[in-house]
Amino acid sequence: MNLLEATADKRGTTLINHWQCGVPVTRGPVLTPLLLSLIGLAALGLALAAVRFFSPLGPFSGMNDVYAWGIWKTFNVMTLTALGSGPLALGLAAWVFNRQRLHVVMRTALVSGFLFYATGLLALGFDVGRPWNFYSAVLPWRWNTESAMLEISICMPLYCAVFLSFEILPLFLERLYYTGNDRARAFLRHVSPSIRKVYPFAIVGAYVIPLMHQSSLGGLMLLAGTKIHPLWQSPVLPLLYLIAAGLCGFAFTIFLLLIVCLRYSRTLDAGVLAELANLLSGVCFVFLAVRLGDLIWRKELHTAFAFDRMSLLFLAETGLILLPGLALRNRRMRQTPRALLNLAAMAVLGGMFYRFIPTSIAYAPPHSTSYFPSVPELIMGGGYIALGIVAFVLAINYFAVLPGEASTWNHTFRPFGWPRKAAASSTPFEPAAAPAFERGI
């Protein structure tokens, strides 16, 4: 006992070093008009995707042989999985660098990350021309191990289907525990120790694999060589893609938490958000340092200030990352929700710019034609995103995803109606005993 007290980390003295802070949204109707329209869009997109499966790609997209990759790959996969890197960024900070406070918001990051990856892979599945040959992924002698595409086509489904699914498994088990019968509870009590045993090993894979494929996404563009504008084509593309993934991961988690907590009028721990913002500003500076160093090393810095179209794009992208980086150094800014929301949105946009531009806007082969996504392509791309949003809204309504309000961060609170007899034996809930948290929004 004394030993435990001596070794206890002081940063974890509040309750937030624990996972029992997830609380489902309990107020208000789920099916709002907005959600219904999103369901409509998702249904339309999926219906088109189903038709596309029995039809050639041509009528469904504006892609051509010069721009062989359309928005499904360049936006839904290469850009949006950066936003889905929250589990990677937060997980590394929480588990490797021991930022224990971040465990509270981990589930929000995990669920959003899972949905970004799942919808991205869905987009990819309907984008490839010969999906029936994909079984080669399980035949290692067919692998071309030097291809970045191979790394992505194996690691991304693996990450989403195995590691992210394992990490969000507690949501489902927990719901079963609180809503199921006694047999289910007995079973879960039986399996939960083994899940705890596997967990630390599983999350190692859950961080190594996205480190690999998020950098490989940048590695993809290396082979395009001179087709990409020299401001973006660089040997450090894989590293920058990875850092941009971390940047978007932190920024999007802040953005999402603020938006969702505003929407459902929940209080948020401003300290957690400030810590995330602090990390975000650090990642912004790391990104900019690598970017600047790379441009100087390749002697391309003058291209950045040529003030032509590409240079302006570069400056916009850099500004969108530099401004949040600088502003979030200020503690007042980190603790003001409105500023935090705007700055996080800017950083998300900047990171998305960096991930999207080399694949499309700065991608200009010599026999250039034009590419603009066709209407079915846009509907399908938007449909996948709508599907993700719908799934996220349902998830936060029916599962303990969002961080609980400060008053509920107590062990006596049970999100799904904990059986009365268990709660009765404990000391009653005392608000005064709960640690004082700053009110966020």
Binding site: P56, G129, N133, S153, G225
Partner: protein, 314 residues
Amino acid sequence: MTATFSRRKAFRAMIGLGGTLSTAILPAPAQAAEEHPAHPIAPPDAIAMLFDSTICTGCKACMPACNEANGLRPDTSLSGGIWDMPTGLNAQTKNIIELYQGPRADEFAFVKRQCMHCLDPACVTGCPFGSLQKKDWGAVTWNSSLCIGCRYCEVACPFEVPQFQWENWNPKIVKCEFCYDQRLKENLQPACTAACPTGAVIFGKRVDLLAQARDRISTAPDKYFEKRVYGEYEAGGTQVLYLSGVSFEKLGLPTLGSTSIGHYATKVTSVIYKWLSGPLLMAGVLGVAIRRNWNRHESERLQREKETGFPDQL
């Protein structure tokens, strides 16, 4: 004697022994066989095509010959169904003669476009399941049973050669394969070089054709642009070589460096991913840190459970 033989010395002796053994048993580290050298050297049996733009009259005899050899339907969409009239390489055209028309009426040249069969092809480097492969004599071929249709080859190819069948439910990648299955295997030269009536495009060993191209340049140095052979060094060297009177840029051949694109793309990752050492090392480092923090977390969780009597969430 025994007193001086310390543990440290024993350790050193073991390392020495292990090192000697390992150098004796393990194969020598591969120094010569780099997967993607910056400047690949063509194997002695590498075949090639030499296209001389100053000889080509634009008769396009090679195009129907190519279509016939590869079983491709003529592209008649522009001519109203009467004539093979593609506007570029496309889903039913593996070989095309294109015209460059300059500002003056007498300034024109023809160029034959098809796969360049690079010595280190970017498409082969990028192809995830090895559908595109460099076969015997250096022909780059496509295998329908391995292709997943990701179109990375189209992104990777600096010459924009591979074409995807957008209008086909079972789409294929259409590109010149040097008539590998159709003719090379039967000791025949490709259909296009066999059909060329003027000798503008000829077939042979790459070394021989390079020597012949240099001969032509030295006999008529003023006739040829920059007095060089396009494809000798471009993108690490290609197996289709060009001679031209006008600039290669005007013929639609991109200006490329002499480094192989595969080398540029894989020089760092091939070191990191060698035997998966980078990811495994990363997993080890992360594993130690996570394990430490996990144990800390678990002890705190158990303490809290003891204090409050409530189990933690999973």
